[in-house]
Structure formats: structure tokens, C-alpha cells
């Protein structure tokens, strides 16, 4: 009985991230539109878009191979599994020990790997440019992210996210410089990984500076729906991750009752809305940078991550 309950809870988590993800994307778009004094589409528009795309037939380039057709499902699966393993409303779920923080980063790396391969599959110049630049961004963002992982898990003493969150909720944390650095680094990485301004622009097409959109240019129909869904899931993952590690309020401890879970859920929704609104404000207030400046921007994240880790070696209390 307990096992069924635990499995159910894990299922709820998987379902929750999937259902909320397009809504978060819609919220960010809506907020951005309001901030630029436009009315903007409904928050529910991404759901409608996904449904519309899924029902359309796929137009496949003549040269596309099986890899091009399989990749969207691989990408959405890897991203979804990674998102399901990030604590949202409760920790200590049935399968939370399947993959630790490092493995979650690597799962996102797998998704990027297949997306970049898919971008090169048709053999167009745009696909190649997107893949090449995405891998460059990844080459900086992934190590920066891993250094954040190092910092956080050196503080918490484990790379298991459930343990990290449990530690962050305890009184032992206090105010730490290293965690502040890790937070800044993680925000920078999150912006880059989600193809957000100032690294990339999710709303652009037909621009030589685009990265993510250039890679998925040849996708259509249900394949494009999967890619868009994966992008939404990834955004949700990062917001949930920042929320779980740095604002762990309200996340239900392992084996908590119904009231605790409900409270966790409410807190999670509040965090999502807050994160989405902050992202919209940030995106409307800065300009996009040149693609070769991205290396410096992410290099800063890398250095902050390293500095945060090194501080912990000076003193475990920093």
C-alpha cells in the first residue's frame, strides 16, 4: 500500500511538471508582452500551440534520416525524466535516488547532444550554425553548472538533490558567500541553457544570431511540438531547481502527509509564477549580446562556480 502511494506520488510529480511546463512558458510570454505594453496572447496559448502542432502532419526534408525522426522523442524523454527528478513539492520520492544532481545535468547534456545532431541531419547551413553554437554554449554552461553542483553538494555533503534540499531546509545552512556565487552562476547558466536573452532570443526567426531556433528550423508538426515541449520542460526544470535549492521553503519532507504535500504544491506554484515574472522582467530590461561575447558571459558563471567551490575549501562555513 505504501509502495503504491509512493509510486503514485512519483507519478504526480511527473505529471505535474509536464502539465505546468507550457503554462510557465505562456506566463513568461504574457508578462513580457505586458511589460512592452502589448496585450499578448493568453497564458494558455502554448497548450493550444502544442495541440495544433501535434495534429498537423510532419513535413520531412528529403534528406532527413531516422535520427531526425527519433530525436524529438529522445529529447523530450531525457528532459522530462530530468525534470521529474528535481524536487518540486516534496522530497524523498520513490525514484528520487535514480539520478543525482550530476546525472540530471548529464541528462540535459544528452538532450542537447541529440538536438545538435538533429540540427545537422538535414544538411542546411542554418542547422549547422545552430548546432555549432549550441555546443559552444553547452561547452561553457555545462562545466559552470557542474561547478554549481560541486559547491552545493560540498555544502550539503551529498550530490543527491533530496539530501541537498533537506540540508538547505535545516538551520545548518546560514548565510554563505559560496551559495550566493552559486546562485548567480546558476541563473546565468539557466538563461543560456534555455536560449533566453541575453544569450539567445526565443522569439526570433530569420536572424543570423539565433541559436536554438536555427537548430530546430527544419522541424514541423508533432516533432516540433515535442521540441517545444522539451524546451518548456527545461525552463520549468531550471526554475524548480533554483527554487528547490535556494528557496527551499514549503517543500514537503520525506514521508509528509497530505497537508504538507498540498502546502508544498502551493509554494511550488508561487515559486514558478515568481520565477517566470522575474525572467520576463530580466528579458525586457537587457539586450541580446553578440554570440562570441557569450563565451565571456558564461565564463563569468564558470569562474563564479569555481570561486564558490574554492571558498568552501578555505572554510566550510563560507
Amino acid at each position: 500500500m505504501e509502495l503504491i502511494g509512493n509510486l503514485l506520488l512519483q507519478g504526480v510529480q511527473m505529471f505535474l511538471v509536464l502539465v505546468l511546463a507550457p503554462g510557465l512558458t505562456g506566463l513568461v510570454r504574457k508578462a513580457k508582452a505586458r511589460l512592452t505594453r502589448r496585450r499578448g496572447a493568453s497564458v494558455l496559448q502554448p497548450y493550444r500551440d502544442l495541440w495544433r502542432l501535434m495534429q498537423k502532419e510532419v513535413i520531412l526534408a528529403d534528406n532527413a534520416s531516422w535520427l531526425f525522426r527519433v530525436s524529438p522523442y529522445m529529447i523530450v524523454a531525457a528532459t522530462w525524466v530530468a525534470a521529474s527528478l528535481v524536487p518540486t513539492f516534496a522530497i524523498g520520492l520513490e525514484f528520487s535516488w535514480t539520478a543525482d544532481f550530476i546525472a540530471i545535468v548529464a541528462l540535459l547534456g544528452s538532450a542537447r547532444f541529440f538536438l545538435a545532431l538533429a540540427g545537422m541531419d538535414v544538411g542546411t547551413s542554418f542547422g549547422g550554425i545552430g548546432s555549432s553554437r549550441e555546443m559552444m554554449i553547452g561547452a561553457f554552461a555545462e562545466p559552470a553548472m557542474l561547478l554549481v553542483v560541486f559547491t552545493v553538494s560540498l555544502v550539503a555533503g551529498s550530490t543527491q538533490l533530496s539530501n541537498v534540499v533537506a540540508f538547505m531546509q535545516s538551520d545548518a545552512v546560514g548565510v554563505r558567500v559560496s551559495l550566493a556565487m552559486a546562485l548567480v552562476a546558476l541563473v546565468i547558466v539557466a538563461l543560456a541553457e534555455n536560449a533566453r536573452i541575453p544569450v539567445d532570443n526565443p522569439a526570433t526567426h530569420l536572424e543570423l544570431t539565433m541559436v536554438h531556433e536555427a537548430m530546430v528550423l527544419e522541424y514541423s508538426g508533432r516533432h516540433l511540438a515535442m521540441i517545444e515541449l522539451a524546451a518548456s520542460l527545461k525552463l520549468l526544470l531550471y526554475v524548480a531547481l533554483i527554487g528547490a535549492i535556494f528557496l527551499p521553503f514549503g517543500i514537503g519532507p520525506a514521508g509528509t502527509g497530505f497537508a504538507g504535500l498540498a502546502a508544498g504544491l502551493v509554494f511550488f506554484l508561487v515559486k514558478l509564477v515568481g520565477g517566470g515574472l522575474l525572467l520576463a522582467v530580466l528579458e525586457t530590461s537587457v539586450a541580446k549580446m553578440r554570440v562570441f561575447r557569450v563565451a565571456e558571459f558564461l565564463g563569468a558563471a564558470l569562474m563564479l562556480g569555481l570561486l564558490g567551490t574554492l571558498l568552501l575549501f578555505v572554510s566550510r562555513s563560507l
Binding site: 534520416s65 550530476i102 544538411g123 549547422g128 561547452a139 555545462e142 550530490t159 575549501f313
Partner: protein, 667 residues
């Protein structure tokens, strides 16, 4: 056990001699490679059963080699593990060669050396005295040198062979010095006696440095790596697979055996050298892999990278052991040894893929390939497994060793020395960077070769390779998946080897639910490759099924969209050079990148050209001055060639006096 191993080695050597005298017909390669496959499988079986049974070490003395001393052989956990690695790699390469070897124009330049090369590597692993070890090491070097020179008519190959010979000679000389230091004044050269000899920490650290130079030059550690990216690709592809996949591991075996088993306690300050050398080798190696335009050279550079990762792990093990933390040393050692096994699996696989592409198209330069996923679907699918594994992506095997490596980096706060406390996380950051760059390198490798449209006529007309080759590649790909999904079994398996090298082993992983890895139970960090694989497969399959079921399943083929301006010319695709451009610009100083644009003068209608190049800084700052110095000294010494007999006699006399004076002052 040991007897059976040596019998197989003997048979391999006999096979080498037989290959030299057998008629040069179409049957001979099949016979030689088939027999090599069987014999290597035997070696793998011996290694496997020795590990599975956790058998006690068995020694054997044969009355060959030096008179009265004989040749000592021994098999223990460590040599069994590397014997297993050699057996798997050798069997796969030989199986592959049954098909691949048919395309060789001059099989008699490969066949007599090939089984002997395998046998020599086995002897290095099985030897239990310094003389046998060094002799077989040298035989291994020379036979692989002969194999590198298979295509000796190409100028590049001859240069590569010369460079390899020089570096191999240097390596053996340094190893000779290392063993000389270890044997001490007693002068006993069998490993048991060396193990018993007490030596101070300075001497031990000196031996460590010499081993780093000697074994490192064979494994490809910087800055002794210069021969590797030219020599490994020059050989036929199954030999490249052996050299990169297996021979570098034999070098690592030599390092582990001497430094961790024979040498005794090491001072902690010896470990930063190993860690720094490993981490720098890893990141610089992969940067050159990203920038190289030749498929097999990309793989060779990536071998350098992986050797760097292994050495970083070994350096961590030295640090933990010097701090009397055998449990953590075992974690780092497990990471290094499992990475050695993993690298053998996926690098052999990828060299075979490169060979298959070379056979099908005749081209090695990436910019002549493209679109092969349509022409060679099975090779492409197997290559995809290889590139996913080598990029350290879950749930394949490359990620397991990487994960273990990071776990041991995260234990470094327990080290007592502040210097190491700073160095280890920085090295961890460099390793993280290396992993991300490896993914870039192999997206480029796979994308330019297999995806897109064909960039040359041979690539457009390629066809799938033979079944022997596909079988060998499929076997390695299956092992990559298996080692990624069931890593606990591998960790338990490598336990006896780790115990010899670090004095402790990880707790048994066999009883964990869902094949989860929990290397340090007190830390509670876990990873289950099996569940990740299962979840991704179920979720991905489920998503595909649901979408096809409830939404649409229609497909229409059409021309590529490409923002409305598709260009039919395949040269408009992103190629090897353009894909590398962002990384080349970001890391320009490390690889000494230069980009030049040649603009025709105004009014000249000829095309503008763009050229990008990278330079190995080790060549520029170490080898070029060294070669110039040797040249200058040789020119000076040249005048000694034309002396009269009286002057020669006085020179001889003077030298004699000098030596005697030296000897007198020494005593």
C-alpha cells in the same frame, strides 16, 4: 591459469612466425585474424575467470631470458583485469580485421607483426620481473612501430614512424632508469624483491616522475604525446583500434603496477604533478580533437584526452593514499580503471567506425564525407552508440566513470593539505569542461561524417561494410551499453584489481536495488544507469506511441526549408572547420589558432579565401628548440669525425682518465 595464459602468448608468437612464412594468398589473413580472435578470447576468458573467482595470485618461472634468473610471470587481480581488457579489445579488433583485412593491399606487411604485438602486450601484463617487463615493452613498441609503417610509401607515415620510434626509445630508456632506481643496491629485478625493498620518499617520488615520463609517453600524456596523433591514425584501422584502445591501457597498467603496487608509500606532494598533468592533457587533447579535420586524428587526440582523465584519477588515488584514506583511494582508482575499460570499448569501436568509413569511401578527411547515415545505416547506428558513450552521456558507460571521478573529486575536502584542497576542485572543473568539450567534438565527428549531405562523390556512393566488421562493432557497442546499464557488476569485478592498487575496495554493489551505484554508503549519492535507461526508453516510447495514436501520424517529404533559401550545393553545409569555429575562437591561445583571410586586390575577380590553423604548443616551445639543440650539437660533434689516429688515441686516453677520476671521487 598463468600456464594457460603463457601458452596462448606462445601460440600468438608462433602465429606471427607462421604468418611470415605462409603463402601470400587470400586465405592467409582470414586464418591469422581468425586464430588471433580465438586466442584473444582465450586471454579474455582467463582474465575473466581469474577476476570472477578472486583467485590468489599465481606465479611461474620459466627458464628463458637471462641465464640463472629466468623469466618470472604472475597473474593477480590487477593483471587479470588488464588481461581481460586486452582480450576483449584484441578479439574485437581481430574479428573486425577478418573483414577489414581483405581490403589491405599488402597484408604481408601487417600479418607477421599483428599476433606478436598482441602477445607482447600480454607478456607486459603477465611479467613479474623488470627484465621481462622491459623486454616485452620494447617488443610491443617495435612491433607496433612495424604496424604503423604498413603504408610506408606515404611520406606522412614514414615521418610518423620515425617520431614514434624516437619517442618509444625515449620511453623505454626512462623506464630502464626507473627500474634501476627501484632495484636499489641489492640489484634484484624480480617484482617480489622490488616490493620488499624499502626506499625513502624522495626516491619513490623520483621513480614516480620517471614512470610518468616513460609510461606517459606510451600512453600519450602531455607533453610526450606528439607522436600519438600522427602514429595511431597512420596504422591500418584495426591496429589503430588496438594502439589507442589497448596499448595505451598497457602503458597505464605499467604505471599502476609500478607506482601503486611496487613502489610503496609516496609523499603527498607527488600527487599534484600527476593530477595537473592529467587534467591539462585532457582539456588540451580534446581542444585539438575539436579542431582537427581528419577523422582518425580526431580519435587519436581524444585518446590523449581520455588518458589525461585516467591519469587525473590516478593522481587523486595517490593523494588519498598518501593521506591514509584507502577507501577514497579505492574510489578514485575504481574510476580510473573503469574509465580505462570504458575507453578501450568505445575508442576501439570508433576507430573501427573510422576504418569502415575509410573502406567505404577511401577518405579520412571529414570535409569529404557526410550523409553516410543513409548509405551505411548499421555503421551509423553503432557509431552513435560510440559517440554517446565517449561524450559521457547517461545511460552509457562513459558517464559511469565520469560520475565516479566527480564523486572522488567531491571527497577532496577530507585531504589534509591546503594545496591539494585547492588543486583538486580546480582539476574537477577542468574535467567538467573536458566532458562538455568532448560532447562538442563528437557531435562534430558524427554530424560531419554521417549526417547532412555527401560532400564528395565517394561519400555519395558508399556502401555498408562487411558482416565481420559489423559484428565486431556491434559486440563493442553492446558492451558499452551493458557497462553503462549494469555498472555495479563492473565495479565489483574490478574490485580485486583496485584492492591491489589502493589497499581497499569499494563496497559490493551487487545487492543494491535496480543496479544502483552507491559507491560510498555514508555519502548516499547514487546513480542507477539501468533505471535512467528504462525511464528514458519508457517515456520516449510512450510519448511517441501516444502522439501517433491520438494526434497525427502523417508524414510528407519535401525539400529542406532552410529559411526559404535552400542551397543545393553540399558545400554550403556546416563543415568540420566551420563547426569548430566558435570553440577555436573561444580557446584560441590554447591551441595557437590563427585565422587568415586572403582578399584579392580590388578589381581582381578571383575568390577570397579563408584559412584556419592550429599549432601544438608542445612542438613550438619544447620539441622545435630541442631538435635545434640536438642538430647544433651534432654539427659541432661532426668535426670529431676527421681526426688523426693520434688525436683519437689521446681522446680515448683522456676519457679513460676522466672516468677513473669520477669513479675515485664517487667512492
Amino acid at each position: 591459469m598463468i600456464g594457460a595464459g603463457l601458452t596462448i602468448v606462445g601460440l600468438l608468437l608462433v602465429l606471427s612466425l607462421a604468418a611470415a612464412v605462409l603463402p601470400n594468398g587470400p586465405k592467409t589473413p582470414v586464418l591469422v585474424y581468425g586464430a588471433s580472435t580465438a586466442l584473444c578470447s582465450g586471454l579474455a576468458a582467463i582474465g575473466f575467470s581469474a577476476l570472477a573467482a578472486s583467485a590468489d595470485p599465481v606465479g611461474l618461472i620459466l627458464p628463458i631470458g637471462l641465464p640463472w634468473l629466468g623469466a618470472h610471470f604472475r597473474i593477480d587481480g590487477l593483471s587479470a583485469f588488464f588481461l581481460l581488457l586486452l582480450g576483449i579489445g584484441g578479439a574485437a579488433a581481430s574479428l573486425y580485421a577478418i573483414g577489414y583485412g581483405r581490403h589491405e593491399h599488402e597484408p604481408h606487411r601487417t600479418l607477421p607483426f599483428y599476433p606478436g604485438f598482441l602477445g607482447a602486450m600480454a607478456v607486459v601484463i603477465l611479467s613479474d620481473d623488470a627484465f621481462t617487463f622491459l623486454l616485452s615493452w620494447e617488443v610491443m613498441s617495435l612491433l607496433s612501430w612495424a604496424l604503423v609503417l604498413t603504408h610506408h610509401r606515404a611520406e606522412d607515415t614514414r615521418q610518423a614512424g620515425y617520431l614514434y620510434l624516437v619517442m618509444a626509445g625515449f620511453g623505454t630508456m626512462v623506464l630502464l632508469l626507473a627500474f634501476g632506481l627501484m632495484a636499489g643496491s641489492g640489484g634484484s629485478y624480480d617484482f617480489a624483491a622490488i616490493r620488499e625493498t624499502g626506499r625513502n620518499e624522495m626516491l619513490a617520488a623520483a621513480v614516480l616522475m620517471l614512470m610518468l615520463l616513460g609510461a606517459g609517453s606510451k600512453a600519450g600524456l602531455m607533453p610526450m604525446h606528439v607522436w600519438l596523433p600522427v602514429a595511431h591514425p597512420a596504422a591500418p584501422s584495426h591496429v589503430s583500434a588496438l594502439m589507442s584502445g589497448v596499448m595505451t591501457k598497457v602503458a597505464i597498467y605499467g604505471f599502476v603496477r609500478v607506482v601503486f603496487d611496487l613502489l610503496g608509500p609516496l609523499p603527498w606532494w607527488a600527487s599534484p604533478v600527476v593530477i595537473v598533468a592529467g587534467a591539462l592533457t585532457a582539456v588540451i587533447g580534446i581542444l585539438f580533437a575539436i579542431n582537427d579535420g581528419d577523422g582518425k586524428r580526431v580519435l587519436a587526440w581524444s585518446t590523449i584526452e581520455n588518458v589525461g582523465i585516467i591519469f587525473a584519477g590516478l593522481g587523486l588515488a595517490v593523494a588519498f593514499r598518501a593521506n591514509a584514506m584507502p577507501g577514497l583511494a579505492a574510489l578514485a582508482m575504481t574510476a580510473a580503471l573503469i574509465h580505462a575499460m570504458n575507453h578501450m570499448l568505445f575508442k576501439s569501436l570508433l576507430f573501427m567506425v573510422a576504418g569502415a568509413v575509410l573502406n567505404a569511401t577511401g577518405r579520412r578527411d571529414l570535409d569529404a564525407l557526410g550523409g553516410l547515415i543513409h548509405r551505411m545505416p548499421v555503421t551509423a547506428a553503432l557509431a552513435l552508440v560510440g559517440v554517446t558513450a565517449i561524450s559521457a552521456l547517461p545511460p552509457l558507460n562513459g558517464f559511469v566513470s565520469e560520475w565516479l571521478m566527480f564523486q572522488s573529486v567531491l571527497q577532496s575536502p577530507q585531504l589534509a593539505q591546503p594545496g591539494l584542497q585547492f588543486l583538486v576542485p580546480a582539476a574537477g572543473g577542468v574535467l567538467a569542461l573536458t566532458a562538455a568539450l568532448a560532447a562538442t567534438a563528437f557531435v562534430r565527428f558524427f554530424g560531419v561524417i554521417f549526417l547532412g549531405r555527401a560532400r564528395s562523390d565517394p561519400a555519395a556512393a558508399a556502401s555498408e561494410v562487411d558482416r565481420w566488421s559489423l559484428g565486431a562493432m556491434a559486440g563493442l557497442a553492446a558492451l558499452c551499453i551493458l557497462a553503462g546499464v549494469l555498472p555495479g557488476l563492473l565495479i565489483d569485478f574490478v574490485g580485486p584489481a583496485v584492492e591491489i592498487a589502493s589497499g581497499d575496495r569499494l563496497v559490493s554493489q551487487a545487492s543494491n536495488a535496480w543496479f544502483t551505484l552507491v559507491p560510498l554508503p555514508q555519502i548516499d549519492s547514487s546513480y542507477s544507469g539501468f533505471l535512467v535507461m528504462a525511464f528514458v526508453a519508457i517515456v520516449g516510447g510512450g510519448a511517441a506511441w501516444t502522439v501517433h495514436r491520438i494526434a497525427s501520424r502523417g508524414v510528407r517529404r519535401g525539400p529542406a526549408w532552410d529559411c526559404g533559401f535552400p542551397n543545393a550545393d553540399p558545400i554550403t553545409q556546416y563543415g568540420a572547420g566551420s563547426f569548430a569555429q566558435p570553440i577555436r575562437r573561444s580557446f584560441g591561445p590554447v591551441v595557437a589558432a590563427r585565422e587568415t583571410v586572403f582578399m584579392p586586390p580590388p578589381g581582381d575577380p578571383s575568390a577570397a579565401r579563408h584559412a584556419a590553423s592550429t599549432t601544438d604548443l608542445a612542438w613550438r616551445h619544447l620539441y622545435t628548440p630541442l631538435i635545434a639543440l640536438v642538430g647544433a650539437l651534432a654539427t659541432r660533434a661532426n668535426s670529431l669525425q676527421f681526426l688523426t689516429i693520434r688525436r683519437y688515441l689521446s681522446l680515448v686516453f683522456g676519457t679513460l682518465i676522466l672516468l677513473l677520476v669520477g669513479l675515485a671521487t664517487w667512492n
